[in-house]
Every structure is written in C-alpha cells, then in structure tokens.
C-alpha cells in the first residue's frame, strides 16, 4: 500500500469511526447546549428540554445538538473548566441578566449574526432588547422570557383571619377589617402580615402572649435569593454609582432591608434564616409552596411549583413605597459563547430555541413571552396547570412598574460583590439584635473595597 492510499484510507476511516462512536449523523456539526446556570433545572423542565433537543435533531440533519445538563450547583465550575480548557459549549441558557453578568466577556456579540440573517428585533419592545445591550460588548442576547413579579397570596389564610384579599389592580387601596380604605403600601402589608402570622396556640403576631419561638404560619416572604431583589420591589436602583466605581446603597433598598429585618426579628412575619434553611419548615426552598405562608413577593417563574401550596392562591399587586410602585423583573434568554467553534450552527440552534421551541420552553419556565402579542395565549396554556381561576392580568400589569435600571445590572467584579452581598444577607437572616444602619454602612464599605480593587 503506498502512502497516498494509506492517507486516503485514514481520511475515510477516521470520520467513520468517530461518527460511529460519537453520534448518529455523519459529518454533522456538533453543537452543545449547556444548561443550567440559572433556571431550567427543575424536575418538570428537564424532560421538556430533552424533547426539544430530540425534535431539533430530527429536523436538522446537518447539526447534532447535544443537551449538556449540569444542575445549578455544579454548573459554574464545569462551565468554567470547559471554557478554559478549550472545550466550550456553544449555546448557554436559560440565563438571567445576573447570570450573564457573572461571566463578563464570555458572550458573543450577536450584532453581525442578527444583520446577516435579517433577524427582526423590532418585534420586541425596545426596552426588552436594550436589556441585552452591553455597551462596547455589543448585543449579547435576544429577548425571550420575561418574569414580572407579583404578590402571590393564599386566599384561605386571609379568610381564616377574617381579612380581605389584597388588591389585584395597581393603584387600588386595601380595605382593612374595620372597613377603612388604606393605601396598598408596605406599612399596610406589615400590619396584615402580622395578623396572618400565627403561633401554635393560634395567637397572631399582634396579640399579647404571641410565642415567636413556635410560629406555624408566616404572613409574608420576600424573594430572598438576592438582597438587591428585596430592595428592587421598593424602588429601582444599583449598588454602583453613575461613575461605575462608587459603592452606594439606594435609600429605598436600605428601607426595604430594615423592613425585612424587622419582619424577621421584631414583627415575626418572615422566616428566620434557620427556618428558611430547614426542610421541615421549607422543604421546597420557596416557603410559599408549603401553604403555611400567606403572602410572597415572587416572579412568575415560581408557577412551576406553586401548585404545592394548594388551589386557592392568586396574584395581587406589588405594594408601593413612598407613593411609588416598583415591581422587580427578571428576564431569561439563551446566549452563544464567544469561544464557540461554530457560530453559524450555534445561531441555528439559538434561533430554534428562541422561536420554534419557544411555546414549550416558555410554558415550562413560567416565562412570559417577550413578544406582547403572544402573552394572552401563553397565559391560557399556563392556566391549564391550575384548577382555580388566576388573575394573570396582575402579572402583565406589573411590567409597567418594572425596575429600570434592573437590579441585576453590572457591577465591577460582579461575582465578588455578589458574594459579599450574600454574606451580609445570611448574617442578617440568622442574627437578631444587629444595628442594621451600621451593617448597611459596613456593606457599602466592603463593596467599595471590592470596586476599588477591580479598578486596578
């Protein structure tokens, strides 16, 4: 055998062997969809994602799409290892705004691909597109899912306490048990939350002899994944000043943290840290799902498990602070990694997920479609999962009160600052008797140190 024939043989044989070992499609480009650096890893969602991958592969002979599933806890390490070792995934998501900011410089600017494929961005509201516009890094994403927040509440607990339900319409007042109409603000929420907090003897948190050591029902729970999020339901803001390097605490956020801290330790309507961490009090990570919490500020995405709380929950308006209403929002999309070895094929996958597969994915993620025209149909599908009638209009209305700038906006050394924030959050949730003003000042100083180091 001469050497040329040997080379030819090898050239033929190698792809054959590789394709026989690796995949089903000869000559297909392999694209890896990496999940889950944000959402998408709940037990109901994974089968839907796998089905989408199968459908894609059936309809695209030239691309072999692989679903690389990593649960959230290990996803960051694996993702970083793969990228750094030259084996990057191509498409990543669903990924929130903060999740994107956690990996600065890693995402492909889609501007050229959008132009080359004439992808129509005008079908989305302009501000939804701007969310993914990252200065000189370019357009890092295309709008996909929007998660407005709302106040989830459990009707039977209000009935038992003899309280009226909270208002569904933004701007409406709340009617107290004595018949008086009051503004739907956090002071009102505090009052009724205490009435809805009950100990094992049936006493509520306003009564003498209330036993805070043995609470069996809580009045209110914020979305506590992130201190910034707690603040953002009181007012939009950022921990970084306009100059991009000065640490600051927005006044509304400081007020919200005081309210939340007192809510745990003085008014007792929110769980303490240890209660929140306990499987016995909070087996599903969202206390509202247990049915032992009367009100909870959360995103639409919690629809995936809220049925656990019973069939009498509904949505109400986010309360106002200082006469102004702000409803924190979140948004997810898929992104392409800059290091991906095949941007064109990755784009095909990206647009398949964003467009062809969107109905299934948005429903399972509980994400409202970014295209306004599709929202009604989306809520019809979402309603099929629940027996009671849910007032979805509340969620749609919440979009008008979205926090702009979004609380997950960029910060210098984002991951380090985020860590610091969590350190303080954990401390506050676990420790009574702190001087919170001092704590907030300490947090600001600690953030300033991190921001200063990042400038160097």
């Amino acid at each position: 055998m001469n050497s040329r024939r040997l080379v030819a043989l090898v050239l033929v044989a190698v792809p054959l062997i590789v394709s026989a070992c690796g995949g089903l499609k000869i000559g297909a480009t392999e694209i890896r969809w990496f999940c889950c650096l944000g959402g998408g890893d709940a037990e109901e969602q994974v089968p839907v994602e796998k089905a989408v991958v199968e459908r894609f592969n059936a309809s695209h002979p030239d691309i072999n799409l692989k679903f690389e599933f990593q649960p959230y806890d290990s996803a960051f390490d694996i993702f970083a290892t793969e990228v750094r070792s030259g084996n990057p995934p191509d498409v990543v998501g669903p990924l929130g705004i903060g999740g994107g900011n956690a990996f600065p410089g890693l995402w492909l600017d889609l501007t050229d691909l959008i132009a080359a494929h004439d992808y129509d961005l005008t079908q989305f509201p302009a501000n939804a597109v701007d969310v993914y516009q990252a200065g000189d890094e370019g357009q890092l994403g295309i709008p996909f899912a929007i998660y407005p927040s709302a106040l989830f509440y459990k009707k039977s607990l209000f009935d038992e306490a003899g309280l009226n339900e909270p208002p569904h319409k933004y701007g409406d007042p709340y009617v107290m048990p004595d018949g008086s109409s009051v503004e739907w603000n956090y002071d009102t929420v505090r009052q009724i939350a205490m009435l809805l907090t009950v100990d094992k003897n049936g006493k509520d948190a306003t009564q003498a002899g209330f036993d805070p050591e043995n609470i069996v029902q809580w009045g209110f729970e914020p979305q506590r994944d992130d201190l910034r999020q707690v603040g953002a339901d009181w007012g939009a803001g950022s921990l970084v000043g306009a100059d991009g390097k000065t640490a600051q605490i927005p006044d509304a956020w400081a007020a919200s943290w005081h309210w939340f801290y007192d809510g745990i330790w003085k008014d007792h309507f929110s769980m303490t840290g240890p209660q929140f961490e306990s499987d016995d009090f909070n087996p599903s990570d969202y206390p509202f799902f247990t049915g032992n919490v009367a009100m909870s500020e959360n995103y639409l995405w919690s629809t995936y498990g809220v049925a656990d709380s019973g069939d009498d929950w509904n949505l109400a308006a986010i309360p106002s602070y200082n006469g102004k209403t702000t409803a924190a929002f979140n948004a997810d999309t898929f992104r392409i990694t800059k290091a991906s070895k095949n941007h064109e094929a990755a784009w095909t996958v990206l647009t398949y997920l964003l467009d062809d597969a969107r109905a299934d994915l948005l429903t399972t993620y509980g994400g409202m479609p970014a295209r306004a025209g599709e929202q009604a149909a989306f809520f019809d599908t979402l309603s099929e999962g629940f027996t009671q009638k849910i007032d979805w209009q509340v969620a749609i209305d919440g979009i008008q009160y979205a926090d702009i700038p979004n609380f997950e906006g960029p910060m210098p050394d984002y991951n380090k600052a985020f860590d610091k924030l969590n350190e303080f959050a954990t401390k506050w949730e676990a420790t009574p008797g702190l001087n919170l003003d001092q704590e907030i000042a300490d947090l600001r100083d600690a953030l300033q140190v991190i921001f200063d180091q990042a400038q160097q």
């Binding site: 290892t81 030259g86 509520d204 990570d285 247990t290 656990d308």
Partner: protein, 335 residues
Amino acid sequence: MRSFIITFFAIAIVAAFLSPLVRAATMSVKNSGQISQTKAPLYPADPETFIYHGHAYDVYNVPVDGATRELALVTKGRTESEFVDPAHPDAGLITWEGSWRTLEPVWVFAPQWGNFLEVWDLINYPRLLFNTIALATIGTIGTLLSCTLVAYAFARFRFPAKGFLFTLLIATIFLPAAVTLIPTYTIFYKLGWIGTWLPLLVPAFLANAYDVFLLRQYLLTIPHDLDEAAQIDGAGPFRILVSVVLPQAWPGIIAVGVFSFVYSWNDYFSPLIYLSTAPDLQPISVGLAAFHSIHYRSPALIQAGTLMTLVIPVLIFIVFQRFFTRGIVISGVEK
C-alpha cells in the same frame, strides 16, 4: 458486668453516630406535606380526613363538654370554628369556641414506600448502577494491578534513586487538586477522551500514592525466605510476585481493593467534569447529585435516593470485613 457496660456504651455511641441515617430513613418514607406539617409526629403520618359535601376535611381531637371527640374541621376561624361529626354528618355543623390550632389532629400512619420506586424510575437507577459498578470494578482492578507492581518494586527491589522516588510518590498526596485541574482536563480533551470513561479508568492503571503505600507496608511484613527459595529454583521476579508473594499478600490486597472500590463508588468530581457531556455514562454519585438539584423540592425522594446508593458498598464491606483489618499494616510489625 464489665462487658455489659462496655457493650452498652458502644451501643449508645453507635446510636448517636447513626442517628442522621435514622433521620434520613424516616424522611425517605414521607412526602413533602408530611415533612413540613407542623406538629407532625416523627413517623410518616397524615391527618385523618373526612369527606363532607365533596370536600376532604382534617379530623381533630376536639374537647367537647369534658370528653374528646374526633370531629372534622370544616370552617377555620381564629376564635371559633365549625366542625362536623363524621359519625353523624347529617346532624350539621357544630360550632366550637377556641383556636383550632391548639387541637391535635388524628394521625394515621402513612409511610410512602412508593418513594423508593419513584426514585428508581426517575433516576434511571439500573443504568447508573451498571455504570458505577463497571467503573468501580475496572478502576479497582486497575488500582490493584498497578499498585501491586509498584509496591512490589518499592518493597523488594534495590535500585538507584529509590528513596527519592518514594518521597516523590508520597509528595503527590500533598498536591491540591486545583493545581492540576485545568492542564489535566486539557490533556484529556486533546486526547479526545472527554465524554468517555478513559479519564477515570486510565489513571487507575497508573497507580496512586495511598494504595501503593498501604500495599508496600503489607509486603514488607512478608518474610523473604520463600522468595529466595523460588529464586534458587530459577523463578524470575514476575513469577515470584505471582506465585509466591501474592498468595501471601491477599489480606493487604483485599483491604486496598475494598478501599479503592468504595472510593470509586463515591468519586464525584472527576466523573462530574469528564462525563458532563455524556449523561448516559455517568455513575451514581453524579446522578444522585443531579437528582438533588432537580428534585430539591422533594427532600423525601433525595433521602430515599441516598439510602439506595448505600446498599452495595455496605454489602461489599460486610462480605470482606473479616479479612479487611488484617490487610492493613502501617506500623511495620512483622507477623
């Protein structure tokens, strides 16, 4: 008497030591509702319910006129509540003054044995089990083969730089994994081994410091007379290893084998990163951790899954434990 006290003392310690497993076991047969129920007993229990006008209502022990009656709670209220008597539902609602939360529900023992079946299906247990057993078995064979050879070299042969090489071997124990992670991954990636078992199995065939040390220590305790006799009969070093040394070394080999098997069984990080793209090849440690993340809303299923993974390593330990302690020699005391 002394033996009674000491045994009792040991039982008390073991009970405290294993109480977390007991807690896990009780959780594994509950559902989320049974776990988060306030006042729920330790055993899995549901409140008894009574169906009244098409709705299920919980039954409570209600003190009425000095006697305790089992009544179903229909309308909850803070100061008074309405109950119905399951024995006489037609009699209508009974109003009771007081806080219903002070009442004790009537508990019915309701273990959720189905949790184990559910985990079995959800986690694709047979597939994970096959992968784990295959990885652990091949890995153990590789470890035993390679470590025996290396230990034999260190225990029986004289060669230049032996002390230095042994120190080098021991020094690898002190290496933090982070020092080598990215370059090692890159090497395996360039070899095209990512998404295969090779990054897990090949290193097993290249020996490791812990097991070489243990085996070397054991081999040192084996007298040399038989080696020398075999040598005089013309046996080569390899023959001596196989037919003279190994037959005397089996307690040490079993000990290292069991350690190595349990280690592979629970090895998490390596399969996590190298099999990230190949879910069908992952072992149970990775599958279980993923299961934790996906089903975090079902702590009962998580505990059931954990308990299921224990069965095989425990059985292996029980079978081999008699020989086990004999095979570990660290002090170098000759037998």
